[in-house]
Symmetry: D2
């Protein structure tokens, strides 16, 4: 019989906070507010703690558990996956991070034409005896138009694609679609994959009427998230790909509610 | 009525080889040899030629066509998509590039345990009056063990993950799964997402018995593709993430058959 | 004495087009038009051909040659480096690709304040008995403002950062700084790392007065490069990070002069 | 005179934790233990806090300060840069993050041949009235050979390139070169850009004699950093690019010393 090297004792007396696998790419099915479920592809990291007296963990079990759960990933089902990790690897604490593209069907504002917009989403979750923690992050591309540029110029105003990144902890379910709406209403305009000329006119004018600094975007989102009583903690940042520079403007607010 | 700026005449007398959209991310459904179809996510570029007398193309039509075709992408259906582009944009030539993850269920060599391996795939295709061209590219991660290191050392041999990248043109259908098999049989060993200890022993010993230089990998693949009469042109390269260096060893062969 | 496995004969009768090292990162010193030289960091690939009768190349010699030449990299000195590769590896043909950041000091248009802008540059060069080929590529970030959006809207116009990528072959030396100037004069406005308010006003208004489609940018560059008799071949593309979409508009022209 | 929109009052009563610029690329000169200084290229983010009563910060000042300090970046000079940010932007707290390649000349273990190895480094630093905090991070590529694979196999053992990432806070200066040495001595073997055959034999045998799990690497580093009394806090992780999988094995330990 083969020796189980991982199960040997380790003399160094050092607990390992996290050990596992990183950057495995797997197809997953995630919960979708409107369609029930949606197929996508995730980059995933999974880990557990390892007490000082064990030499190694059993890496293959992470993949077995992922393979079993990949067809139903949601903020509500992730706890079962983490519980399986704790049991299978006899660990006190288990962690998972999933990063994936999520698609939402959107209608252009005037023509009503349909297309899909892609959003970068992440679930980061930890389970221990005493608690289950889940942070959901959604990155939302929007349009920002500079108030200073508008104010000081005879005509025009520089504008650009920005990415509003929102992470939340919550006590009741909050959908990805709701986070997207918070971000879009805080910028100069939402953006779309498909726009006809009447839509382009609408968005150009709308954004000129709604200039926002990167500071305004994060403050507008903060006001909305502060008011949402389901959310207990959040971090919001915005990165504006300044059209007049080769670098980005950026701002960030973190709020923990009491 | 709004002016159609794109349709204005252009005085510079310069034909544009390609104009369109790049790096749009969309969910697609691709043909799968074993399961019929498979859901994945693609990064896509689409373009057409633009004669010198037109000022601009109509960018929104690319997205309309993509939205219509995304549910059935295969080496056989891509021609319809390209034909739609030519018609909708009144162009002589249309191009599309799709890059996506493709998953294949594999069984570990001894334990037989199942898991999914991810492969980077690309379709690059052009349609004009006179021809339809399609290049399919598959990148296959494998294990390579160095023959020199084995030969000169008392014990052991450095080995590493390598990526074998194969592009083909063909006159009859060749499946992604067949390209993967060609690459895997040309290296020291295939690799897997899930391996139990008996599998790890098997692969360690197998790779030690089959040392290959990066040059051997591309020559082994070349021999196989030369013999496959469905394939009319190919390019094969291998990039070995040398475990003794912080850079890669790399080799490349291109063959055009008469 | 250790066996030289690489020098063994190979029975497969397959020439290898290119074999070498990829993605080694090294500090280099490049020629600078204004300051004489400039320190930067490059990602480098080097390769040679390998005749069918040799089993393998000698990878360490690439690094020896790079280490020897890294302190003087220019379009004129690269030929010596390639000649060293041919000699040291007894090859007919040698290739090198270097990708690096290049910095140019720029003054803001009104305030005159100085800062450095970064440009992605690449040298790709091949030497054989019969020819020396060198392609220089420079990617230039600029501002583009949409003519259609300006035309159809009551006020404002969507604009964004764009990257103009120009590759050239030439018979007399052309400086990176000249390629940057060609790209910047073909867009709605150059961009800068450091702008005070008076500069921001200037650029906002200037870009509104000079709207360009992605098609216009590549045509404008094409006109300039067509006229420059030092340049014998070029490829120009522009990628506009559309502020109203989450994807890019893109166009490309290739000209080979007779 | 132009209106200073940024200086307007803001009614939303929301403090902004950080606002500034991100991902600006600039040439810098960093302190080098052996040569005094070294030229490299950095990707940099800079930010300050913004009290609730101000509408916006003045982005151009970040670039002015960076331009002034870029020629002398070290763990000791970074405090002056942060102080300049606090003063120029009238902020309580200033932050900077710099990520750059750092090169160390290394001699091959047997042949003694010289070459440069590249290491990813980061400085992340914060200054407020009450404290100055600096975290230095160094990522060190090494070779790891699997103890389990060696134990259960008749011959050979899978091995791979791994990246050991070490972040430290310290009360006395610790050089990048010392962190690299800690990481290299904790793995199966250091790795090099340039190795002759006698070196390859040495490293192959040495790594076979020193098998380490990813857990062993982080524990070995932990033992060394625990003993170094200059270091007050550290985080160490290792990511092994498993040659038998297409994903990585990973482990992490964080220690705060009392």
């Amino acid at each position: 019989m083969m020796k189980d090297v991982q199960n040997l004792a380790d003399p160094r007396n050092i607990d390992i906070d996290q050990v596992g696998i990183r950057d495995i790419v797997y197809p997953i099915v995630v919960r979708d507010r409107d369609k029930g479920s949606q197929h996508t592809v995730a980059t995933i990291s999974m880990s557990v703690n390892l007490p000082h007296n064990f030499k190694g963990t059993h890496m293959s079990r992470f993949v077995e558990i992922l393979h079993k759960h990949q067809a139903d990933i949601g903020t509500d089902t992730i706890k079962d996956l983490l519980e399986d990790m704790r049991t299978s690897l006899t660990a006190q604490e288990s962690h998972i991070e999933l990063a994936f593209k999520y698609f939402i069907e959107k209608r252009a504002p005037v023509s009503g034409q349909s297309s899909l917009m892609d959003y970068d989403c992440e679930f980061s979750s930890t389970l221990s005896d005493s608690r289950h923690d889940l942070v959901m992050t959604v990155s939302v591309p929007v349009l920002s138009l500079c108030p200073c540029s508008k104010e000081i110029s005879e005509y025009g105003a520089h504008n650009q694609r920005s990415t509003v990144r929102i992470s939340i902890r919550c006590k009741k379910i909050v959908w990805i679609e709701e986070i997207v709406a918070y971000a879009e209403s805080s910028a100069s305009s939402p953006i779309y994959a498909l726009l006809k000329r009447e839509d382009e006119k609408f968005i150009t004018e709308r954004s000129y009427e709604n200039p926002v600094f990167v500071e305004d975007i994060v403050r507008n989102v903060t006001q909305l998230l502060d008011k949402d009583s389901r959310i207990t903690w959040f971090e919001v940042s915005s990165s504006n790909m300044e059209s007049i520079h080769n670098h980005n403007a950026w701002a960030r607010v973190v709020h923990k509610k009491v």
